[in-house]
C-alpha cells in the first residue's frame, strides 16, 4: 500500500517545524512521497491526479492544522486517478492538540497514526493509574453542583470548592429561565440544600485551590479556606449582625444594583445558610482589631470571631473537575453604548437582579431615580421600588460579542435571555414598548424557536440590525440603529437600555490553567480533548471540564456536560483505572500501538 503525505496548512503556524515532521514521515513504512504544499496552497485536482498516478499512490495522508479543508480536492484527485477516494486520511494537528501546545513529538505521532490508518485517539492510550476515591470539583455553579450530586449519589466522596460565600453561581441570580420561564430557584435551591446535607460531599465555600501537584489519579491539592469569620454550623442567618454593621458596599450578588453590609449573606437561600464577613471592607479587620467589632457583640449565638485566620487544607484527590463558569465583559469598555455614562443603561445581570422577585425592588421594573445617599451625602442613581417605570425599553444583542474589537465568538445565551427580558418587560409593564436589536436571532434549542415566536406575538418590536450608539439628545436617551429589513435608519428615545454583554472566562482561569497545565483556546476558554469525540475530558489525565468554562452554553447543556463528566469520574473510580496525561505517551509507544492495531 504505497502512501503519499502532503503537508497543507490553513493558517501560519511558526511554532511547529513542519519539515522536521516531514523528514520523520519520510521514513515511515509504505511512504513513497512527502510534499510540503505550504500555507493555503492552490490545489488543482487534475495535476494532483497526475502526481498520484505518476507515483502510483494508493493512500494519501493530508497533514496540517485543519487538513479537512483540503480533503475534497485530494478525494477528487484520487477518484480521477482511479484510486479509492476513501483512502484519503487526515492527520489533524489542531484536533489532536498539536497546534495548541506544539510538541514535535505529538505532530509526528499524529502523522504516524494516519499513515497506519489508525484513529489517533485509539493509538494514544495513556498509561492507566490507580485512582483515589475522592473527587475535587472547582466551582459551585449549576455545573459543579450537578457533577457533585451525581458522583456523591453513587456513594463516592466529593470535595466541592467555591470561591464565593455561597454555591449557586450565576444561576442563583436569575429569576426565570428560558424557554419554559420556570423559576431558577425552584430548580437550584433543592440541589443546593442536598449538597449541604449530603454525607459524601465536603463543601468548602470562600475557598480557592492554590496548588496542585502529583500525578493523574492521585493529585495532592492545597486549598486556602479564606476565614469566613462566622461559624457556619452555629449561624442561623438571623440578620442581627448585618443590621448593626456600619459599612455599606455594592452587593456582588445583586450585580452592584443594591448594597450590602460588610457582614452579609449573599441571598436568603444561600448555602451554607450563614453570614460571612467581607474582609476588605470590614472596619475591624482593616484596622487590625482597633475599630468597630459591633457585630461580634450583637450576635446572640456568639458565632462571629473576627480574628479567625485563613486555614489551609491539604488533600489527596483522584479526579479534578473544573466548573469555574464565566464572567461578563466589562461594559464600560464598549464606549458607544454609554454604559457608566447614562444611569439607565443596564447590563443583563443587573436587569436579572432587577426583575428577580427577591431582588432590590422585589421584581418591579423601574428606572433608576436620583436619591441622596445618607452616608456619602452625594446624590446617587439607585433603584427605588417606587421609581418610575420605563415606557420604552431597548435590548441590544451582541454587545462585545461577534466583534473583532472585543470577543470574536458568539456568547450563545444572550439571544434567548434577551427574548426572556422582552417577555418580562411586556408581562410586568403591559403598556411599555420593547425593542430588540439583533443580528442573527439564535434560537436553536428545544422549544427556543416557539419561545421566539411567542415573544414576537406579544408585541415586542424585533429589529434586525445591531443598534450602533446610545446617545443623549435633549435630556432623553436615544438609540440609533439601522432597521435592515425595513431598510431605514431609526433613532428614537428610550428610557432604559439592556445590554446583552458578551461572556468571558471567569477571573482566575489564567492561574488555574497554569496550575493544572491545561491548554486554553485563543478566546481563553479551556480546551477539551477532542471537539466531537470527547468534549469534557482534557489533555491532562483525570482532569475534566464542565459547563461554561469550556465555552459559553446554556443551563441544559451545562447540566448535560456536568453529568457527562460524572460518567468519566465514576468509570475511572469503579474500574479503578484512571487515564494518565496524554502528553506522557511517547512517540514510540504510539507507533507500536498503531502498528499492532493496524494488524488487527
Amino acid at each position: 500500500m504505497r502512501s503519499g503525505i502532503f503537508f497543507c496548512q490553513v493558517e501560519e503556524n511558526n511554532r511547529l517545524n513542519i519539515n522536521a515532521v516531514a523528514k520523520y514521515a519520510a521514513n515511515l513504512p509504505s511512504v513513497e512521497v512527502v510534499r510540503e504544499m505550504g500555507i493555503h496552497p492552490r490545489l488543482d485536482a487534475k495535476d494532483l491526479a497526475k502526481q498520484i498516478q505518476a507515483d502510483n499512490l494508493q493512500r494519501i495522508v493530508i497533514a496540517g492544522d485543519m487538513p479537512g479543508y483540503f480533503k475534497p480536492v485530494f478525494a477528487k484527485a484520487m477518484a480521477l486517478a482511479g484510486h479509492d477516494p476513501l483512502e484519503v486520511r487526515l492527520a489533524s494537528f489542531r484536533e489532536h492538540g498539536a497546534s495548541a501546545a506544539p510538541t514535535l513529538e505529538r505532530a509526528k505521532a499524529i502523522v504516524a497514526c494516519a499513515v497506519f490508518g489508525v484513529p489517533f485517539a485509539l493509538a494514544v492510550m495513556p498509561a492507566e493509574t490507580t485512582v483515589h476515591q475522592t473527587t475535587l470539583i472547582i466551582g459551585g455553579g449549576i455545573a459543579g453542583i450537578q457533577a457533585a450530586l451525581e458522583i456523591a449519589d453513587a456513594g463516592k466522596p466529593v470535595c466541592l470548592v467555591e470561591r464565593f460565600g455561597t454555591i449557586g453561581g450565576h444561576m442563583a441570580m436569575f429569576d426565570k429561565t428560558f424557554p419554559t420561564l420556570d423559576c431558577a430557584a425552584c430548580i437550584l435551591t433543592p440541589k443546593m440544600v442536598s449538597i449541604l446535607q449530603h454525607e459524601m460531599i465536603r463543601l468548602l465555600t470562600n475557598s480557592e485551590v492554590i496548588a496542585v501537584s502529583g500525578s493523574p489519579g492521585s493529585y495532592r491539592v492545597q486549598i486556602k479556606c479564606r476565614a469566613r469569620l462566622v461559624d457556619v454550623e452555629a449561624c442561623v442567618a438571623c440578620n442581627m449582625c448585618s443590621e448593626i454593621c456600619p459599612v455599606e458596599v455594592p452587593s456582588e450578588f445583586d450585580a452592584g444594583i443594591a448594597r450590602r453590609k460588610a457582614i452579609y449573606i449573599p441571598f436568603p437561600q444561600a448555602v451554607p445558610n450563614a453570614y460571612l464577613v467581607d474582609r476588605e471592607h470590614c472596619l475591624y479587620v482593616q484596622s487590625a482589631g482597633k475599630k468597630c467589632g459591633a457585630c461580634a457583640k450583637k450576635c446572640p449565638k456568639e458565632c462571629i470571631n473576627l480574628d479567625q485566620k485563613d486555614d489551609f487544607i491539604e488533600m489527596e484527590v483522584g479526579n479534578i473537575i473544573i466548573a469555574t463558569g464565566y464572567d461578563v465583559l466589562s461594559a464600560e469598555d464598549i464606549k458607544q453604548y454609554g454604559y457608566g455614562m447614562f444611569p439607565n443603561v443596564l447590563t443583563a445581570l443587573e436587569f436579572e437582579r432587577l426583575t428577580n422577585a427577591s431582588g432590590p425592588t422585589g421584581g418591579k421594573i423601574v428606572t433608576k431615580s436620583l436619591r441622596l445617599n445618607k452616608r456619602s451625602k452625594k446624590e446617587e442613581w439607585v433603584f427605588d421600588p417606587h421609581g418610575e417605570a420605563p415606557k420604552n425599553v431597548a435590548i441590544i444583542h451582541c454587545v462585545g460579542s461577534r466583534d473583532q474589537n472585543f470577543n470574536s465568538y458568539c456568547s450563545r445565551v444572550c439571544c434567548m435571555y434577551s427574548l426572556k427580558f422582552a417577555h418580562l418587560v411586556k408581562e410586568k409593564l403591559p403598556d411599555a414598548n420593547c425593542y430588540e436589536f439583533y443580528i442573527d436571532m439564535r434560537a436553536f434549542g428545544k422549544g427556543y424557536e416557539e419561545f421566539f415566536e411567542r415573544i414576537r406575538q406579544e408585541g415586542t418590536f424585533v429589529i434586525r440590525g445591531r443598534s450602533a450608539t446610545v446617545s443623549q439628545e435633549n435630556e432623553k436617551m436615544v438609540v440609533t440603529g439601522e432597521d435592515i429589513i425595513r431598510d431605514k435608519l431609526i433613532q428614537f428615545p428610550v428610557d432604559m437600555v439592556l445590554l446583552a454583554v458578551g461572556l468571558i472566562p471567569a477571573r482566575g482561569t489564567e492561574e488555574l490553567s497554569r496550575m493544572l497545565g491545561l491548554t486554553r483556546d485563543e478566546d481563553g476558554w479551556f480546551s477539551e480533548l477532542d471537539y466531537n469525540g470527547n468534549p469534557t475530558d482534557t489533555e491532562r489525565g483525570c482532569v475534566f471540564v464542565a459547563g461554561m468554562c469550556q465555552s459559553p452554553k446554556d443551563i441544559p447543556d451545562a447540566v448535560a456536560q456536568a453529568s457527562a463528566v460524572a460518567a468519566g469520574v465514576l468509570r475511572s473510580i469503579s474500574s479503578g483505572r484512571g487515564i494518565g496525561h496524554r502528553g506522557s505517551v511517547t512517540l514510540s509507544d504510539i507507533e507500536a500501538r498503531a502498528k499492532s492495531l493496524q494488524a488487527k
Binding site: Q404, A468, T480, G481, E482, K488, L489
Partner: protein, 383 residues
C-alpha cells in the same frame, strides 16, 4: 422582475481596493454611525450589500459612494473588519472607471503597469516635443522674453488647448454620470426647476468641500484638503492667465509671485502631509492605499517640486538649467493632467460636487416637490 445576482463583481472590485467587503454580516452599525447617512441615502451598508450581491446596475446608479468623505468612524466600529470606509473609497474608484466612456480609466485602475507605461510614454513625448520645439524656435540660453526656449505664448496656447480637451473629456464623463444616475426607466424623474434650484450647490461644494467639514472631529483633514485645493486653483489661475508675468524678468512682481510662492508651499506641504499620513497609516482613512492614490500624490509632489526648481533656476540666472527643468516640469504636468484628471483620482474634483448636486436634485424628485433648499442633510427621522 427579479434582478440577477452576479458573484463575479466582488472579485472585480477587489482590484479597486475592496478586499474585505465580503466579511460584512450586515449588523447595520456603519450606516447608523455614519454622520452623513440619512433617510434618503442609507449607506455604507446598502452599497456594500449591492456589491456583495453583484447588482451592477444598482451600483452604477448610486451616488452614495460620493456622499462619503471617509471620516472612518464606520470602519473603526465594524465588528467584522469589513472596512466600510475603504469599500466606499473603492466604489468611488470603480464609479470613476464606470463613468469614463473611453475605458482607459478602467485599464489604469486594473493594472497600474499600464498606467506607468502611459505616463512614461506621455512624459517622453512631451519632453521630446517641447525640446524639439524649443531647439527649433528658441534659444536654450534664453528663458523668458523674445526668443525664449519655450515662449510663454506657445506654452500658453498648449495649456489652454490641453485644458480644453481635458474639460471636454471630463464633461462627457460627467454627462455619462448624470445619464447613469437619472437615465434608468424606473428611477426618479426631476423636472427642470429642480435642476436650476440646486445649481448653486455645484460651485459651493467645489470651492468649500463643505460636506467634508461636517465629518465631526476629523476637521483637521478638511482644512489640509481645502489648503491643497486652494493652492492648486491659485497655481492653475497663475499659469493659465499670468504665465508671462510668472516667467518675466529678474524683478519679482510681488502681486503675482506672492500667490505663486504661497500656492507652491501649500501644494508641497499638503501633499507631503498626505504622503506621510499614508506611509505611517496615521488615520483610519490612510490604512489602505490603492496604487492610484500613491501615483496621484507622487506626481503632484514631482510637479510642484520641478515647478519650484524651475523658478529658482530662473531666478538664480541659469537659463539653460531653468529650461531643462521646465521641460522636466512639463514632462510631469502633461501626464498628470491628461491621466489623472479625466481617468483617475483627480476626476473627483468634478464628480464630488456633481454628486452633491445630483443628490439634492434626486432628493427633490423623490420628495415630488421642491425642497425648502438648504443642505441635503435632512434631519434623522424620529420614529
Amino acid at each position: 422582475m427579479a434582478i440577477r445576482v452576479n458573484p463575479k463583481i466582488i472579485d472585480d472590485l477587489a482590484v479597486y481596493g475592496a478586499e474585505d467587503v465580503q466579511l460584512c454580516y450586515h449588523c447595520g452599525n456603519c450606516s447608523a454611525v455614519c454622520p452623513h447617512a440619512d433617510e434618503f441615502n442609507v449607506f455604507p451598508r446598502k452599497p456594500m450589500r449591492n456589491l456583495q450581491m453583484g447588482l451592477e446596475k444598482k451600483l452604477e446608479r448610486s451616488l452614495e459612494p460620493w456622499l462619503c468623505y471617509y471620516c472612518g468612524q464606520c470602519s473603526e466600529q465594524c465588528p467584522r473588519g469589513a472596512e466600510p470606509g475603504e469599500t466606499m473609497m473603492s466604489l468611488r474608484r470603480w464609479l470613476t472607471s464606470r463613468y469614463d466612456v473611453t475605458g482607459l480609466s478602467r485599464l489604469f485602475y486594473r493594472s497600474w503597469k499600464a498606467e506607468m507605461i502611459a505616463i512614461l510614454v506621455l512624459a517622453l513625448l512631451t519632453g521630446v516635443a517641447f525640446f524639439l520645439f524649443g531647439m527649433l524656435r528658441g534659444d536654450i540660453h534664453v528663458y523668458s522674453g523674445p526668443g525664449a526656449f519655450l515662449p510663454s505664448s506657445a506654452v500658453h496656447l498648449f495649456d489652454w488647448s490641453m485644458a480644453g480637451v481635458l474639460a471636454a473629456l471630463l464633461f462627457v464623463n460627467s454627462l455619462h454620470m448624470w445619464r447613469l444616475v437619472f437615465g434608468s426607466k424606473d428611477g426618479p424623474k426631476p423636472n427642470l426647476f429642480m435642476y436650476l434650484k440646486h445649481l448653486p450647490q455645484l460651485p459651493w461644494h467645489f470651492l468649500t468641500q463643505n460636506r467634508f467639514r461636517t465629518c465631526q472631529e476629523r476637521n483637521g483633514l478638511w482644512l489640509i484638503h481645502l489648503l491643497l485645493v486652494a493652492s492648486y486653483l491659485t497655481m492653475l489661475v497663475l499659469i493659465m492667465f499670468f504665465l508671462p508675468t510668472m516667467q518675466s524678468g529678474p524683478e519679482i512682481r510681488w502681486t503675482v509671485h506672492t500667490f505663486g510662492y504661497a500656492a507652491s508651499i501649500g501644494l508641497i506641504g499638503a501633499t507631503i502631509f498626505m504622503l506621510h499620513g499614508r506611509l505611517k497609516k496615521t488615520r483610519t482613512q490612510f490604512q489602505h492605499s490603492h496604487k492610484s492614490d500613491w501615483l496621484f500624490l507622487i506626481m503632484l509632489v514631482y510637479v510642484a517640486l520641478t515647478g519650484v526648481l524651475q523658478h529658482i533656476a530662473h531666478r538664480a540666472g541659469f537659463p539653460v538649467a531653468a529650461n531643462l527643468v521646465y521641460i522636466m516640469h512639463m514632462m510631469g504636468v502633461v501626464p498628470m493632467l491628461v491621466l489623472e484628471v479625466p481617468f483617475s483620482k483627480w476626476s473627483h474634483l468634478a464628480y464630488r460636487p456633481l454628486a452633491m448636486y445630483l443628490a439634492a436634485v434626486q432628493r427633490d424628485a423623490l420628495l415630488g416637490r421642491s425642497s425648502q433648499g438648504g443642505e441635503i442633510l435632512a434631519p434623522r427621522r424620529i420614529a
